[in-house]
Symmetry: C2
Subunit: 350 residues, 2 copies
C-alpha cells in the first residue's frame, strides 16, 4: 500500500479538533504533503491550511483526498458522500482510516470504477500474515508503549525517528494505526488483524535489517486496558523491541472511557511491559518516559520530568516540547551495540 | 450458530490420530452425537465407529458431516471434495473448523445452494462483536489457561463442566475453538476474531447469568506463547474469571513447535495469569492444576500430582484419568459465595 501525495485533508463538518486528529497528525509531521483542507461548513475545525474544493485541490496538484476525521464507530457519514464523489470525479484517490470500507459504499465504488482512481482503506491490510515465528530478527527495534490509549505513542515514535534521522542514523518509523499509516505512507493497522495473526503481522512490519538500523515502532493500546491489552501484547511480542519508551499523559485520571479502571503507576507499567517483552527479546528494557506536557510552563515541565525520573530511573521527555534528542543520546550511549557472533578482529578490539 | 446432529465424522485420509483431534474430541465428549465415521482409505485413522458412506449415514439419521481432521494451514483438501459433494447430495449439512471457508469453494457452494443444506464454518463468527466494556458481569466464571497450546485446556473445561452438571449445579461449557464449538454446538472461535474485538467477543461469550451459575470457559494458547499470547490475554480479560485452572502436559519440553522457547514453571505461569486476570476481576485466583498423565501408572500419577501440589499449593487432577470432582469440591467449599450487595435478610443470617 503506497498512498500518492500530496493530500487534500478532508475535515467533514466536525467542530472538535480532537476528532480531526488524523488530519492534525499528518499536518504536524508531513506538512509538505498537505495541499489544503476541505471543510463542509464555517463551524468546521480549521487547521490553518488553504480551504479548497476537491477540484481546486486537484488543480493545485493534490493526488489523494484523505478523510482526516474520526467518527464514532468508524462509519463513513452520509453528509460526506457528495464531496467524496466530487473528489473522485476530479481525479483524486480517496484514503480512509474508517472501519467501514470505502468500496462497500455503492456510489463511491461505482464512481471509482468509472474514473479509475484508487480507494485506500488503510485500516484493512491488503495482505495475509503468517503466525508469528518467534525467530529473533537482525537490526534494532524501539517500541513505544503506553499506560493507556491516546497518550502520545505515535508522536513519541515519530519524534524519536525524526531525531535519529536528523543525526544521520538509519531508521524507519513503523506505523501500526491509521493515522500513522497515512503519515508514513505505509504500515499495518494491527488492531484490524485477526488475533491469531496479530503477532505475526508485527513481525512482518519490522523485518530483518542491517545490524545498526533502528525500526521505531508505533505502539497501540496498553497492557492495562480491559479491551485492547491483547493487541498491545501481540505487538510487543512480535516487535521484539530492544528498547521500550513508556508514554503517559499526566492529566489522565483513569483508563480513557473506563472510569472503573485506574491507571497503573509508571513503575508497574514498565515492569509489566519489560517482563512480557523479554519473552521474545531477553535484552528488552525501558529507556525513557514520554510525557505529554501541553499547557505546562517550563518549571511545571521540569518538575514533572524530575518526578518521573525519580520514580523510574530513566529520562523523561516531551515529543513536542523538548523533542527526542535525549532518547537518541541514550540509544547511542553504547548499551545497544550489537552482540558480536564471531570473534572480534584485531581492528575491532582496539 | 446451532449445528444439527447427529454427525458423520469425516476423517479424510489422515493416518495420524493427532490430526483427527477434532473427531476424537467430539467422540470423547458427545458420543451420542456420532452416527459413524467416513474414511477415504484403509490407512486412515480408525476411531472405532461404524464406517459409513455419506448416503448410508444420512439413511441412518445423520444430519451433518463434520470435517474431523486438521490440515496444515487450515485448507480444505482437493481429495475430500468428491466425498463432501456426495454428502451434500445426500442431504447432509457440512461443518468445518478450517480457516478456509466452505462457501468459498465453488463446487461446494453450488451444490449447497442446489440442495438447500447448510455450510457451517465454525471458525468464523456469524456476528460482529463490540469492543470490550470491562463491566463486571453477574454469575461465576472459570477459565482454563495453559503453559502452552494443546495441553488439555478444552478437556479440563469439559471435565469440570461435566462434574458440575453431574452434581446438579447450573453450568455451561463455553467453547472458544473449533473442536469445542462442534462439541458444544455453539461458541466463538476467539483466534479468528479481529484483535480489536477479541476481548469483547470473550465478554459476549459468557453474558450476565444467575449469581450461582458457572460458565466454564475453554482457554486458548498461553501467555508464554510468542505467537498467541495476545489471544490468551484478550480471552483472560474478557472472561473475567473468578477461578483459573492451569493446564500442563508434563512431557512437553518447550513451547510446541518453538524449540527456542522454554516452558515457564507452573508457579510463573500462575503468577502471570492471576496478575493479568485481576485487571478485570480482582478476585481471580488459581484453584487447580490439570495434568495430562496419559500412559502413567497410578504411582507415577500420584507422584506428579504431589509434586505439582507442592510447587503451587493447589490441587492437581487429570481431566480423563481422575475427572474433575476435586475441582468442584473446591468451587463449592465456600470461597466462591457471591458477594451480597443488599443487607442480609433475617432468614439469610441464621
Amino acid at each position: 500500500m503506497q498512498i500518492p501525495g500530496p493530500y487534500l485533508l478532508f475535515l467533514g463538518n466536525t467542530p472538535h479538533r480532537l476528532d480531526a486528529k488524523t488530519a492534525s497528525g499528518i499536518l504536524d509531521w508531513r506538512s509538505e504533503l498537505c495541499t489544503g483542507q476541505c471543510r463542509l461548513d464555517a463551524d468546521t475545525v480549521d487547521l490553518g491550511l488553504p480551504d479548497m474544493s476537491p477540484a481546486a485541490a486537484a488543480a493545485a496538484g493534490a493526488r489523494t483526498l484523505v478523510i482526516g476525521v474520526a467518527t464514532f464507530g468508524g462509519a463513513i457519514e452520509e453528509a460526506w458522500i457528495d464531496t467524496l464523489l466530487a473528489a473522485i470525479r476530479a481525479g483524486l484517490n480517496i484514503a480512509s482510516g474508517m472501519h467501514a470500507r470505502l468500496g462497500d459504499h455503492p456510489a463511491i465504488a461505482a464512481a471509482a470504477r468509472e474514473t479509475g482512481v484508487c480507494l485506500f482503506d488503510v485500516r484493512h491490510a491488503d495482505r495475509r500474515f503468517d503466525v508469528a515465528s518467534g525467530r529473533k530478527r537482525s537490526g534494532r527495534r524501539l517500541l513505544t508503549v503506553g499506560v493507556d490509549c491516546a497518550v502520545g505513542k505515535k508522536y513519541a515514535a515519530l519524534a524519536i525517528h525524526h531525531a535519529l534521522a536528523t543525526r544521520g542514523i538509519a531508521a524507519d518509523f513503523r506505523a501500526t494505526g491509521q493515522t500513522g499509516i497515512l503519515i508514513a505512507g505505509g504500515g499495518v493497522a494491527i488492531d484490524a488483524v485477526v488475533s491469531d495473526f496479530a503477532a505475526g503481522a508485527a513481525e512482518a512490519l519490522s523485518p530483518d535489517n542491517a545490524p545498526e538500523h533502528w525500526d521505531v515502532i508505533e505502539g497501540q493500546g496498553s497492557l492495562f486496558h480491559p479491551a485492547y491489552a491483547g493487541v498491545s501484547l501481540a505487538l510487543l511480542h512480535g516487535s521484539q523491541p530492544d528498547a521500550l519508551v513508556l508514554c503517559h499523559d499526566p492529566r489522565r485520571a483513569h483508563i480513557d472511557g473506563y472510569p472503573d479502571y485506574p491507571l497503573p503507576t509508571l513503575t508497574a507499567c514498565i515492569a509489566a511491559n519489560v517482563q512480557a517483552a523479554r519473552l521474545t527479546n531477553p535484552a528488552a528494557r525501558c529507556i525513557a518516559i514520554a510525557l505529554n506536557t501541553r499547557g505546562m510552563n517550563q518549571s511545571q515541565r521540569d518538575s514533572i520530568f524530575a518526578s518521573a525520573r525519580k520514580e523510574t530511573g530513566v529520562i523523561a521527555f516531551d515529543p513536542i516540547a523538548t523533542g527526542a534528542n535525549a532518547v537518541v543520546d541514550t540509544l547511542l550511549a553504547g548499551q545497544f551495540r550489537p552482540k558480536h557472533t564471531r570473534p572480534l578482529t584485531e581492528g575491532e578490539l582496539t
